[in-house]
Symmetry: C2
Subunit: 412 residues, 2 copies
């Protein structure tokens, strides 16, 4: 008799048949006696179709009108899913973001949720209805339609779960859970029964894209138990939960994340004076270039070098901004490399275990992989290596930390 918020993405509702399959799944939970709120995305392809229509009229349409346009995508899905549920004898009612009332700020196309009125949904749940809500959208205080940005449906689901104090927020996707690493790279990658919010955040931001990072943040902030499951396969998925409860049983390392979207840029021979980091990074951020890792090396002659990673798309812009900075500061020069990859080990267990870094570096060294940059946080260690060694590094680390063996949570 739990209250569940379930979110189904675009692929899961891509056709009328798939919408009917979602309705079957939801009915299963209803038959077990659970209350269900369903959040859906637009049918796959629909948002792109609408954006193409807008593009055929003008290149940069007003964000307010874009939101009016693209929010129709989810509205179509909520109506169709409600019909499919009713066909199965499940009483259901659809709500747009505005109808629920999911109040957001007025930042069209990337609005943030400020408040959710759960009264209407509660009334329907009490009357035995399934509540079907359009993800990704809301309304500002002036009644304008807003959207939360792509992938915002996850955030909607988590926000509704928080407002309703749901027992669980279930995100149905095309993967059946969070894995120790990408199964396409490591055959023996294993689905995790559970993972902490912090680990999930690191995994998501590092490139293991299962959930929207904003949704995970939101879930963490409001203590919403979050579960990732497959729309197409049966299974328990992966529960994302709170460190405090499970840290004791966690393995040292939970997963290996990686990405190859980044490039590194180095400015060397920078006079080592207070404020030099600021004078280098401010022009970069002023140019709207996001910086990921930042490493400063101590050098000789009171000179130092900064290396940081940016998205590969921003590589050339970053280099030319830095060349200007280099000239101004009298630094030695700027160099860069796009053929890099970032590999990270993630695990809350690191906090209480020494020697994790040593083990990581050893595993890479055994394979003859040179480490170009290192960056650490409380629960992860990231290294930058030559892109061509990426798969080799991930497999070596996966094996070194015994991620192919069942974790503690499964042996209990």
């Amino acid at each position: 008799m739990a209250l569940l918020v379930q979110k189904f993405g675009g692929t899961s509702v891509g056709t009328a048949e798939r919408i009917e399959a979602v309705a079957e799944k939801v009915r299963g939970f209803r038959n077990e006696g659970h209350d269900v709120v369903v959040v859906v995305s637009a049918m796959s392809g629909e948002t792109n179709r609408l954006i193409a229509l807008a593009s055929s009229i003008m290149e940069e349409p007003a964000p307010r009108e874009m939101d009016v346009l693209v929010s129709t995508g989810e509205q179509v899905t909520i109506a169709l899913l409600s019909m499919a549920l009713q066909k199965l004898g499940c009483d259901a009612r659809s709500y747009t973001g505005s109808q629920v009332r999911i109040l957001t700020d007025s930042m069209h196309t990337k609005a943030r949720i400020k408040q959710i009125d759960e009264q209407r949904m509660r009334k329907d749940l009490n009357a035995g209805r399934v509540v079907v809500v359009a993800g990704f959208q809301g309304v500002d205080e002036h009644g304008n339609i807003t959207t939360l940005g792509r992938g915002g449906s996850d955030t909607t689901a988590v926000a509704l779960a928080a407002a309703l104090k749901a027992d669980e927020c279930q995100i149905y996707t095309d993967v059946d859970g969070v894995y120790t690493t990408d199964p396409r790279v490591v055959d023996s990658a294993r689905r995790l029964e559970q993972i902490t919010f912090e680990e999930m955040m690191e995994m998501a931001s590092l490139g293991s894209k299962v959930l929207q990072i904003r949704a995970v943040e939101f879930a963490g902030k409001y203590n919403v138990p979050l579960r990732v499951l497959s729309s197409f396969k049966e299974g328990e998925g992966t529960l994302i939960t709170f460190e405090e409860e499970i840290a004791m049983e966690q393995p040292v390392v939970s997963g290996i994340a990686f990405n190859r979207d980044e490039a590194k840029v180095t400015i060397s021979g920078v006079p080592d004076t207070p404020g030099s980091a600021l004078s280098i990074l401010k022009p970069v951020s002023d140019a709207n270039i996001g910086v990921d890792m930042i490493v400063q090396n101590v050098g000789e002659d009171n000179r130092t070098a900064f290396t940081f990673t940016v998205h590969r798309d921003d590589f050339n812009r970053a280099k030319s901004v830095l060349q200007r900075v280099s000239d101004e500061l009298g630094a030695r020069g700027v160099s860069g490399d796009t053929k890099i990859a970032k590999v990270s080990i993630v695990g809350v267990g690191m906090r209480s275990h020494a020697g994790v870094a040593t083990k990581m570096f050893e595993a890479l060294s055994v394979e003859g992989i040179n480490i170009q940059m290192i960056s650490t946080s409380e629960i992860k260690i990231s290294v930058v290596i030559d892109e061509k060694y990426l798969e080799l590094a991930v497999r070596a680390l996966h094996s070194a930390f015994e991620l192919d063996k069942p974790g503690v949570e499964e042996t209990l």
Copy 2:
């Protein structure tokens, strides 16, 4: 410096290019200094696409969910048209029915407008913006999305014009006005500069489908000057206005309407007692069959015959209902004919002119056309004839009443 409400239907906004053409047209009016509120339908084909999606899930979906679904069609158009206007430098803002707030009753898929809040539109107009409103939709007092039924966009336009006390409500269609009769039947059919509401009502209900009849009723009730124009051609269109102002200048007959959607059913040898009409027509209306013309002939032996017309789709049902009635009443029997057509002459001038019926019957008689039924009202005379003579009858009447010659209003 007028305030205009302009409505563009599905064909007029069927593609991105056509939406841009509508924007150009609207900008023309803005440049002349007019304030403009634009009402749009869904892009042609879109409503049918959405209905097909629903049908693929279930045959008779809940009306509430149908409204959530199909109302997205107009929402797409308002966003695209606002973008197209902004591209031309016309500040514009889109509103759904719910956002305006077009308050309706809760009769989903055929709701009626109860109240319109014009404050928000007024504010935009005062700020120099074009207001773009989704036709065909509204919201009930509980916040549920409603639709007015097919063609309801005309009604939306008229209702907004009434609420804003607009100077004119302009309905852009694929015809360039109201004609004396269907130009496909009579080559010399002429566009009318103006027509009265009453005549327009008769013309519309009789099959000259230019405007939704509910929109015309609404315009009449709230004294909204209504003009029908072409989206694609330049021209003044036809102004639909109030009898009081122009009756003096009106020709006797303004137009010839016709339809071939009806069938006639006769029940004969009915005992001529009080209540016999009721005992015949009540079972028909109980069977949800709409009746158009009703004619009762006096017969012999205290017996009488009733003939009436129904839609051809209802012909078989009507006949079997009447057969039952005939048996119960001891009438002689039931007969019917689907190969009929109805032709009507319409004109407010009839009120003050005698001999119009005579002239009509004479024109038909000259062509050897037998009249099967006659029905008259203050401003129209309808006859039922053999379907095969329909075109001939329309041409004969068009010529007899000199409709191919310019009317008085053009010679003034």
